[in-house]
């Protein structure tokens, strides 16, 4: 079993960990966005959806079990993703101890070069987002269990909406590189698949970002109001 330790210590193993946990987190982000869209169907629908998440897996699982398992899985994915990224970043810094006087990127994209910084912005956003909508301790008008009210009243503040929109753009850049890069890292390639990898990344980045950004914009535009 010592090969498992060796695998987690190797840089290529860590890259595989980054890719697999990245896919898990993408799955979460996509599901979360679809759930968010329930806001357009009014308070009853989205509040019932939020409560219904606790009943997933019934009757095999009891109330809240599936949510707990999902949360533990997500925490594990986030920790592994950040651990691998940090460890590899340190290796990469050492590999280029002395930089160039002139360096002209030929292929790297803005997205690929900002993965580390984008990741930090997303992490900061997630912490704020949890404090805002899950725990409610930075929300001025938080009503436990009333998701619709919390989201709409939160987004009615243009500064908060602006921050959410910027965070979604950062997430979009991160996804745009990550969603094809994970296939490369896991060795999923071939002449047919290669032609689809970047379009796949661009499409799903757009779906997640547009879906999420539409919510604060709809609230700010008065399309979605507190009265449903």
């Amino acid at each position: 079993m010592s090969w498992i330790i060796g695998f987690f210590r190797s840089a290529m193993g860590k890259k595989a960990v980054m890719a697999v946990t990245g896919v898990m987190l993408f799955g979460f982000v996509l599901t979360h966005m679809v759930g968010n869209l329930k806001l357009y169907f009014g308070p009853e629908k989205i509040n019932a959806y939020a409560e219904g998440l606790r009943e997933i897996g019934a009757p095999l699982l009891s109330h809240g079990d599936a949510l707990l398992i999902a949360r533990l899985g997500l925490i594990a994915a986030v920790v592994l993703h950040i651990w691998a990224a940090t460890s590899l970043t340190l290796v990469n810094r050492r590999a280029r101890a002395q930089g160039y006087a002139r360096k002209s990127p030929q292929a790297a994209t803005y997205a690929s070069r900002t993965m580390r910084y984008g990741g930090l912005i997303i992490l900061a956003f997630v912490v704020y987002h949890l404090m805002h909508f899950t725990w409610g301790n930075v929300h001025g008008d938080f009503v436990p269990g009333d998701v619709y009210h919390n989201v709409v009243s939160g987004f009615q503040n243009p500064l908060i909406s602006g921050f959410y929109i910027l965070a979604q753009l950062a997430l979009g850049l991160h996804l745009y590189h990550g969603l094809w890069s994970f296939m490369q890292t896991l060795g999923l390639n071939g002449p047919r698949l290669n032609a689809l990898r970047q379009p796949f990344a661009a499409t799903f980045t757009a779906i997640v970002v547009i879906g999420n950004i539409s919510l604060p914009l709809s609230v700010l535009a008065g399309f979605v109001t507190l009265h449903g």
């Binding site: 190797s10 290529m12 590899l88 590999a95 280029r96 160039y100 002209s104 030929q106 890292t185 060795g187």
Partner: protein, 251 residues
């Protein structure tokens, strides 16, 4: 052509280096980049200065010796071209040109623009060969090889080990080199028996050397004078995962 050069000068492996300015006057656009440096060096020698040290051998783009970073691009501005095959017509009269050695902890600077690339040799020593008996010379086409595999193996084998991939990679990773060396053997029948053990051994040495880790920027592919594709990196990743998880010979 009159040019202003900023060239990295470093007296030895442990010496501190600096970018030094040189005026290169009366150059012909038909000169190769190395010939331009030769002329600069002849003048430096006449003036009693140390000539600029750079590595070169074949000067026909097949040996991989002449790497340098020119204006921030490994092997300079022309795609699919080694420094020795780069001609001064790619530049304009009056240009300022920055010339630096490969910057990689795994390629320590020996002097000026010359680096020690023996870390690549150690990756090859770990498995860049076929050590099983492949028998005596066969008749042509006796061992069938799919056309796509034969072509792909040949493309990978075009790697000249110049190190531009490492120099261009923002992470100083050697994935393109190692993946090409693993692939040109692993794609052919004679390379199959050692395919996964070779992958494990070469990756282990690559990671022990001071190379970084691939983050799929594709900078390597863009500067590779032999246009090796990052598809080989995906193949290396796949073989590495196979070698770790699915190899019946790995316990």
């Amino acid at each position: 052509m009159d040019l202003t050069l900023y060239v990295w000068r470093q007296a030895g492996p442990d010496a501190a280096g600096e970018m030094k300015r040189y005026e290169a006057q009366g150059m012909s656009p038909d000169m190769s980049f190395l010939e331009m440096l030769d002329v600069v060096n002849e003048r430096l020698i006449l003036e009693g200065e140390e000539p600029i040290v750079f590595e070169h051998d074949c000067r026909e783009g097949i040996c991989g010796a002449c790497g340098m970073v020119i204006n921030g691009v490994a092997h300079g501005p022309q795609r699919a071209t080694t420094t020795c095959q780069l001609h001064m017509r790619q530049f304009n009269d009056g240009d300022t040109i920055y010339i630096e050695p490969w910057r990689s902890t795994a390629f320590p600077v020996l002097r000026d623009l010359m680096v020690d690339r023996s870390s690549f040799d150690r990756i090859i020593e770990a498995g860049g060969y076929v050590s099983v008996s492949t028998g005596s010379a066969r008749d042509a086409n006796e061992i069938p090889v799919p056309k796509a595999d034969a072509d792909s193996a040949m493309d990978a084998a075009a790697c000249i080990g110049c190190g531009a991939c490492v120099a261009a990679c923002p992470n100083g990773a050697a994935q393109l080199f190692t993946s090409a060396k693993v692939a040109h053997l692993g794609l052919l029948p004679q390379g199959q028996p050692e395919r996964l053990s070779r992958t494990r051994a070469m990756v282990a040495v690559m990671e022990d050397e001071a190379f970084g880790s691939c983050t799929n920027h594709r900078e390597c592919e863009a500067v590779c004078p032999k246009q090796i594709s990052v598809d080989y990196i995906a193949r290396l990743n796949r073989d590495y995962l196979k070698a770790q998880l699915l190899d019946p010979n790995a316990k």
